[in-house]
């Protein structure tokens, strides 16, 4: 499979490559996997068929007229130009059709907005360009980032099956339970969308929005950010895995354990010194995942929007300042505070990387303890 795909993609002609890359696309809106999504689908089909019927009648008459009432056939034009009766008729009929349509639409909308009696609540926070999920019933929380490698996007590697629709850590929800989503954002407006659930809700900075779903089928469901949110808007997918309640419980416990373990490791790390090699390799990975979107893989940034790190005064000279800005971000810019997003080790590593990559050869190591010191206010 992978082999044939890479063969396909190595074809030089753009046109050929596009036509042989046959992946089936559904031609209609998904029915989805929830009761609501099914209702939405039914509404969509109803209004669609209504439009088709009206279209067939109107265009039918029009084409009949085009065929029959043409000058070439030697017809004499009639001169009638008004009829109040007809006008009233074709005002009234659409009104009736619309009223008929509005009734089921109203019912579905009311059902969609009823977020009461939820079993699980997840706080979803959008930020440029990743999602953060936090389960309110327990302390599980994590970021969910695009997992498609850069090389696939730049066409150096063959594209995988779920190209651009895969994340490192998907959201997991239990089946058969009412799951409530609270949406908010850390920066610009994002929109969390999973077509299979018919859930699309904007994540507004400073405000919360609600939506809910109840999924009966275990499975993997994919969606994307639907509101233009800046440069990498096209690269922040949503992946949700629905698991049976038992599997879900197991997963939650596993996650809680993983997070606790990571915290314990942090403490141990403070006493440890990592080697340049280790820091650089962890740093490169972290940089690619969290920093390269703005500061670019080559560290040169995008002039006028995202500052360069390569050769910058801060990356070369101001170590405490550098640590501080990575930890706490910079208010009023796109630079986020990573203290809560990354582990001490990752922060230490990524700063080491930034101070030693692309010819920024400071030779300096930044250890977890250094980061911790700045965090505690001692490094400044």
């Amino acid at each position: 499979m992978t082999k044939t795909r890479s063969l396909r993609w190595s074809l030089p002609t753009l046109l050929l490559a596009a036509t042989v890359n046959a992946t089936d696309m559904p031609l209609n809106m998904t029915r989805g996997v929830t009761e609501i999504s099914q209702q939405v689908y039914d509404l969509h089909m109803t209004i669609f068929w209504i439009c088709c019927v009206i279209g067939a009648v109107v265009f039918g008459i029009m084409f009949w007229s085009i065929v029959r009432h043409r000058k070439a056939r030697g017809v004499q034009p009639a001169q009638f130009h008004e009829s109040t009766k007809v006008e009233i008729l074709w005002t009234a009929i659409p009104v009736v059709i619309l009223i008929v349509m509005a009734i089921p639409a109203t019912k579905t909308l009311i059902a969609m907005e009823d977020t009461t009696e939820a079993d699980v609540t997840v706080l979803i926070t959008g930020s440029q360009w990743k999602w953060h999920y936090k389960y309110l019933e327990n302390d599980v929380e994590f970021y969910s980032l695009l997992a498609t490698p850069k090389e696939q996007i730049t066409n150096r590697f063959a594209k995988g099956e779920n190209y651009l629709l895969e994340v490192d850590r998907p959201l997991v929800i239990p089946t058969g339970k009412k799951v409530r989503f609270l949406m908010t954002s850390d920066d610009v407006i994002h929109s969390w969308w999973v077509p299979a659930f018919a859930v699309k809700k904007d994540a507004n900075p400073g405000f919360i929005n609600e939506a809910w779903t109840r999924v009966d089928e275990p499975g993997i469901y994919r969606g994307q950010c639907a509101e233009l949110c800046g440069k990498d808007h096209g690269f922040m997918p949503v992946v949700v895995i629905a698991k049976s309640p038992a599997d879900y419980e197991q997963w939650v416990n596993g996650e809680a354990e993983r997070i606790a373990k990571a915290k314990a490791e942090e403490q141990e790390l403070l006493a440890m010194n990592m080697s340049m090699e280790e820091l650089m390799s962890v740093g490169a990975r972290t940089y690619t995942a969290y920093c390269a979107a703005c500061h670019q893989p080559n560290g040169e940034g995008l002039p006028g929007i995202f500052p360069a790190l390569k050769g910058s005064a801060m990356a070369l000279n101001d170590k405490p300042g550098h640590i501080n800005v990575v930890l706490n971000g910079k208010a009023g810019t796109a630079m986020q505070a990573y203290a809560r997003q990354l582990s001490l080790k990752e922060i230490a590593a990524v700063i080491t990387y930034e101070r030693n990559a692309w010819g920024n050869n400071t030779g300096e190591l930044v250890q977890a303890a250094d980061v911790h010191a700045v965090m505690q206010g001692k490094g400044e």
């Binding site: 850390d186 500052p307 206010g377």
Partner: protein
């Protein structure tokens, strides 16, 4: 300009100017509209009076508390408890923990949002840290209180009210000095 066009041209120009003003008038109008309908889930920015209505012990409402520092805000910011069950009319105090782990003074402003939005009309705050900006020196922590009650008139379809606070770093606006923190790459 021909004389006969002047009055109409003038009227139209004035209309255009008035509509420019109307664009700005939409800002307060929107706030009024939100206050009336709970459109955006904003709670009142000023204190409600403490003489609460009768306590309705026959009914329970779950209040969920969410506290998030914005991603550019380094504070730790948490509610003491995640949720609370209250009777409408009862006055409660809820504490939020704030900690400034950095080495510098930071000013925070909490922005409330209630969901479902209409419930915001029935969530009354007698005292709240969100009414004013909060200063916290580096390395220090504090408890920030919120005193509130739920209006017994809360429509019956609301059984859970989610109160979210997003905490913003407004230090630069506070000191008027935007160049306080050093910028990466400059």
């Amino acid at each position: 300009m021909a004389l006969k066009h002047k009055p109409l041209t003038f009227k139209l120009a004035v209309t255009a100017l008035a509509m420019f003003g109307f664009g700005f008038a939409l800002v307060p109008l929107y706030d009024v509209f939100c206050d009336l309908t709970g459109l955006n889930g904003k709670t009142a920015a000023t204190a409600a009076s403490a003489d609460a209505a009768l306590i309705d012990t026959s009914r329970e409402v779950v209040i969920e508390f969410i506290a998030r520092p914005n991603k550019q805000m380094p504070w730790v910011f948490k509610p003491e408890v995640r949720r609370m069950t209250v009777h409408p009319g009862e006055i409660h105090i809820m504490n939020y923990l704030a900690e400034n782990p950095t080495g510098r003074m930071i000013v925070g402003q909490a922005v409330p949002s209630v969901s479902p939005g209409q419930a915001a009309l029935y969530f009354h705050k007698i005292e709240c840290f969100c009414f004013t900006q909060q200063q916290l020196a580096g390395g220090k922590n504090m408890l920030m209180p919120l005193q509130f009650y739920v209006d017994p008139a809360l429509p019956s379809q609301f059984s859970t009210i989610t109160l979210s606070y997003t905490l913003y770093d407004v230090t630069s606006a506070w000191t008027g000095d935007t160049a306080a923190s050093s910028q990466l790459g400059e």
